[in-house]
């Protein structure tokens, strides 16, 4: 959502808004004020915003909320609307403030939970082919060592996971924990690269 060096725009509102949201639509100036409150530097503010949103979604999903992204957006909207009142007086960790508001939003949700949104797994052939194309492109961008590690890490039989990973770790001269961490970091890079590639292909 946030790109470095680009002003963050108000996120699009979801179709299914909570009752509180219907009372007041967040304005762009309120959103900009929220970002300035988070950090005077726009780039850092954008990163903080993304982090807070990701954490809200993760927590709400863990609590069993069936619409975690919508409730996270609702939480951010409420905080943004209140920034004008608290920005001079609130001195504690700003991220924790979001957590408090999220608890209220979640409490309201529990009184009248929304039906779960059907899982939209994109399993059609075209989407898969596109993802495969992007994977190949992103694999080409990896260093030879990273590529070799990721290929070995994923070329495993499901029953022999631990056994094989021990051998790969020995092969690379690292511990099992380091192997997992390195492989997942490469995987993280691949994920970001593929998502970016998919967006570019859609445009």
């Amino acid at each position: 959502m946030y790109k470095s060096g680009v002003a963050l725009r108000l996120p699009p509102h979801s179709k299914d808004m909570s009752p509180a949201k219907k009372l007041h639509i967040l304005r762009q100036d309120e959103f900009d004020r929220l970002l300035r409150w988070l950090d005077p530097d726009p780039e850092r503010a954008g990163l903080t915003y993304e982090k807070i949103r990701w954490r809200l979604v993760a927590i709400l999903a863990s609590r069993g909320c069936t619409r975690p992204e919508e409730l996270a957006d609702e939480t951010i909207d409420r905080v943004a609307r209140r920034v004008v009142d608290i920005q001079d007086s609130y001195v504690s960790d700003k991220a924790i403030y979001f957590l408090g508001v999220m608890n209220n939003v979640h409490h309201e949700y529990l009184k009248r939970p929304l039906p779960p949104r059907p899982t939209e797994l994109n399993d059609d052939v075209e989407a898969k082919e596109k993802t495969h194309r992007c994977l190949e492109k992103c694999l080409d961008k990896l260093t030879p060592n990273s590529r070799r590690m990721i290929e070995r890490y994923y070329a495993e039989d499901k029953q022999a996971k631990i056994d094989l990973r021990k051998r790969i770790a020995q092969e690379f001269g690292i511990s099992l924990g380091t192997l997992r961490l390195r492989a997942l970091r490469i995987r993280e890079k691949l994920q970001a690269c593929i998502e970016h590639c998919m967006q570019m292909e859609t445009l």
Binding site: S62, A95, T119, L135, A155, K161, R180, L184, E188
Partner: protein
């Protein structure tokens, strides 16, 4: 769950374990664990980074079917609720298709061995030492057997490697049919080993031949060929051998072409003659001569001739 709480408090004192992070993602933390974890997640960037990686790991495990039935259900109901996580799972599936497919072909053969190795823990040093000792014992045992019990070793060797000594009456078949003018090369088949004697082809026809001096139609015995390709015609060469042999018998056509021969023949037990077995398939209608000679060292001396007709 009490056990989980104890672990959790221990985790919280230092840092959260990977198992706790995974339980958070699957929505399985207890009421006591959940708020503490949430608070930490909002204040600890390191924990956030670990949770992000754990999300990828979990999506991979789901795509690679490494989750238990219970965890799969939790994954679908509690984890797969955001579009971002669904994208992660999509990439995990593509990674599985891309890499596991390549590995499957190569590892298919090794899969059973790999699993057995893994199942019995054959990589453990104890197993390696045990196998090493076993191999040494087998080697010492074999060496002892050969040194101390040569007769047993000989018996074993004889069983494994059958004797290749030539069969006393090993026949030789001419490499061309009778009554033709084919080249005179001969094919000498490998001598039959001893144990093949029992499997000698059946005698289809047996005829007694007395010595004669020429092809005389009126006196020549005649025979009808047996129908089986594997049958042999036994020519009983009547003659009172004065020497033990060995003898050589050669079958030739009336025109003088060699059809078949047998070396190292010995008189039959009664001493009334020599049996000369000829494969029936080599015989065709016509007159034949059998030349019997005695082989003495390198020299060969003619003993008698026999004549017969195939009808």
């Amino acid at each position: 769950m009490a056990g989980n709480n104890e672990n959790f408090e221990k985790d919280n004192a230092s840092e959260f374990s990977d198992e706790t992070i995974r339980r958070f993602l699957l929505g399985e933390l207890s009421a006591l664990e959940q708020p503490l974890f949430e608070q930490s997640l909002f204040t600890d960037d390191g924990l956030e980074a670990r949770v992000r990686l754990a999300e990828l790991d979990l999506a991979d495990d789901y795509a690679f079917e490494r989750l238990s039935t219970h965890d799969r259900k939790s994954f679908e109901q509690r984890f797969l609720l955001t579009s971002n996580r669904q994208q992660k799972l999509q990439v995990s599936k593509v990674l599985r298709d891309r890499f596991s497919a390549n590995a499957a072909a190569g590892s298919e053969k090794g899969t059973v061995a790999e699993r057995l190795r893994y199942l019995f823990g054959l990589d453990r040093p104890a197993w390696r030492i045990a196998f090493g000792v076993l191999i040494l014992l087998i080697l010492f045992g074999t060496a002892w057997l050969v040194i101390k019990e040569p007769r047993i070793a000989e018996q074993i060797t004889n069983r494994i490697i059958p004797r290749r000594s030539p069969f006393p009456s090993a026949p030789r078949e001419a490499g061309h049919p009778a009554n033709t003018s084919m080249p005179e090369h001969q094919i000498t088949p490998s001598p039959m080993p001893l144990h093949d004697r029992a499997a000698a082809p059946p005698v289809g026809v047996s005829v007694a031949l007395t010595p004669a001096v020429s092809f005389q139609a009126s006196e020549m015995p005649s025979l009808n060929l047996p129908k089986g390709d594997q049958d042999v015609v036994r020519l009983q060469l009547v003659w009172k051998p004065d020497q033990t042999g060995p003898y050589r018998a050669e079958l030739v056509t009336k025109e003088g072409s060699s059809v078949f021969s047998a070396e190292a023949l010995k008189p039959i037990d009664s001493g009334a003659g020599i049996d000369f077995d000829v494969p029936a398939r080599l015989l065709k209608t016509g007159d034949y001569q059998v030349k019997l000679s005695r082989v003495d060292g390198g020299s060969k001396g003619s003993v008698a001739s026999y004549y017969f007709r195939v009808q």
